[in-house]
């Protein structure tokens, strides 16, 4: 079989149209780097969001007259909620101890009495819920007998909700733009390559080459551009990851890493860019060359 010949023709296309190939490879590198950065930043943000969401705290302040029975009802309610991962009861005395720890003074010395209410600190895992779910349960708790007030940082949840979708949407938009630009530029290079090789294509048709035989070198050329672009992007991303960890390591809760989904995704995206770009040009231009 002459697969070696076809691969050689693919490589020769790359070296024949050096400048356009270089531009296409560079575009793929830039596009994939952008995608990689989006992925790294996105996963980091999502990780951060999840940290906040999985350890979200709600405080339930009890009325002075709350009874044992009221507390049992409240605890039953908390136990039955899917959102709640745990809770602590803080009695008036516990609250006074905390006050002393935080402010360094005994509340009885300051006020002669302990006005601090008993309360519950409730931990919620809100990763799979939005702020409305939290509002609903907070409202229900607020209406229960013995409960004075339910407090939580609703604004934080609302922000997280809003920005999670913004991050996803932004990432998606970047992806689409990058994909479009890369496909257009690869397509353009392959078009130039087809134009440069129109004589070969004509003569191949003349001597009885099938369409597949004629197209294969250009597909290989496109894929090669994709792989080279991906290699460039991986090198740049590696630099970004190492640089970020070195400069910002102390601020980050976890270091940035080049994980396999990232590496595999970049290589796969490079190949897809090359493949789609070349296929588009091949479909549009090769059939115009005839003998």
């Amino acid at each position: 079989m002459s697969f070696g010949f076809l691969v050689k023709e693919g490589f020769s296309g790359l070296s024949r149209a050096k400048f356009p190939s270089f531009v296409a490879i560079l575009t793929i590198t830039i596009s994939l780097t952008l995608m990689g950065v989006t992925y790294l930043g996105g996963t980091k943000l999502v990780h951060l969001f999840n940290q906040v969401r999985s350890g979200f705290e709600v405080e339930i302040f009890l009325l002075p007259g709350a009874t044992e029975y009221d507390r049992n009802r409240i605890e039953e309610k908390l136990d039955s909620s899917e959102l709640v991962t745990g809770f602590d009861y803080i009695s008036k005395e516990d609250a006074a101890d905390r006050f002393e720890k935080e402010f360094g003074e005994n509340i009885y010395d300051v006020l002669d009495a302990n006005p601090l209410p008993a309360s519950y600190t409730v931990r919620m895992d809100t990763r799979n819920y939005d702020h409305n779910d939290v509002t609903v349960i907070a409202r229900e708790l607020g209406k229960m007998q013995g409960v004075d007030e339910v407090q939580y940082k609703q604004a934080v949840l609302q922000l997280l909700d809003r920005y999670s979708s913004a991050v996803l949407l932004g990432g998606g938009i970047i992806l689409v733009i990058v994909f479009g630009a890369a496909v257009l530029l690869v397509g353009n290079t392959i078009k130039l390559s087809i134009f440069a090789k129109r004589e070969v294509i004509k003569i191949m048709r003349l001597v009885g080459a099938t369409d597949l035989f004629i197209k294969t070198p250009f597909i290989i050329e496109g894929i090669l551009q994709g792989i080279l672009g991906a290699a460039g992007a991986l090198a740049v991303l590696y630099g970004i990851v190492v640089g970020t960890n070195y400069l910002l390591g102390s601020f980050l809760t976890t270091e940035l890493i080049m994980d396999w989904p990232l590496i595999g995704g970049i290589i796969a995206a490079g190949i897809i860019f090359g493949l789609v770009g070349s296929a588009r040009s091949i479909r549009m231009f090769i059939s115009q060359i005839r003998y």
Binding site: S2, K202, I203, M204, V207, G208, T210
Partner: protein, 217 residues
């Protein structure tokens, strides 16, 4: 082997061929003569099915123009060799690779390709020029390379479209002699030429064309 049944081919601008009926038999040498624009090239294009008849049908070997799909054309082309006035060689590869291309597209093994290419080059007297590039050769030698490329796939017919148009008379006669030798080896030849002087002393059948019609055959 080649059959034209009531074949007409019209183009937008009006030129073409009308109502052609003729056959070319196995191993025959046929000359298509006529002035420029008479339709000689069109006949050859109909044979290698670069054009399809507007009316009628062309049958070459087992390929019938009325049935043949686009993806079948390459397989017809493998049975038909073609040479042209302007040689149609690739300047970016040497003589060997130009000739070998005809076999590579057929996905023949490299070892076999080498043997057949060198045989074909020897057959046209260019065994010593395999590593040369087309632009390093004379016009006559370039036409020999294109003949080698046409015959290396052992076609049933060699189509020659004004093969001597760019060559001086002495070289033209040499090319004609080479075509005759190839014909004697069993390959049919269909040659289109407007140069009647070149073929007037040959015994070959002539199909004379004028304005797309056969006036004498």
């Amino acid at each position: 082997m080649i059959y034209f049944y009531n074949v007409s081919k019209t183009f937008g601008r009006g030129a073409g061929v009308q109502d052609l009926n003729f056959n070319v038999h196995k191993g025959e040498f046929v000359c298509i003569v006529g002035p420029s624009g008479a339709g000689k090239s069109t006949i050859l294009k109909l044979i290698y099915m670069d054009e399809k008849p507007t009316d009628g049908k062309v049958v070459v070997d087992n390929f019938d123009s009325s049935m043949l799909q686009k993806d079948g054309v390459p397989y017809l082309r493998r049975r038909v060799g073609m040479i042209f006035q302007d040689f149609q060689l690739l300047r970016d590869r040497n003589v060997y690779d130009n000739v070998a291309l005809a076999l590579r597209v057929m996905r023949i093994r490299r070892k076999k390709i080498k043997k057949r290419v060198l045989q074909a080059l020897n057959n046209v007297g260019l065994g010593h020029r395999a590593q040369y590039y087309p632009q390093e050769l004379s016009g006559g030698e370039q036409q020999r390379v294109s003949i080698a490329r046409a015959i290396v796939k052992e076609p049933i017919v060699l189509l020659a479209d004004e093969p001597t148009g760019n060559l001086d008379p002495q070289v033209a006669r040499e090319i004609l002699a080479l075509l005759r030798r190839i014909n004697e080896q069993g390959t049919a030849v269909v040659m289109a030429t407007h140069n009647y002087n070149l073929i007037k002393n040959t015994p070959y059948r002539r199909i004379r064309l004028e304005e797309g019609k056969v006036v004498d055959s």
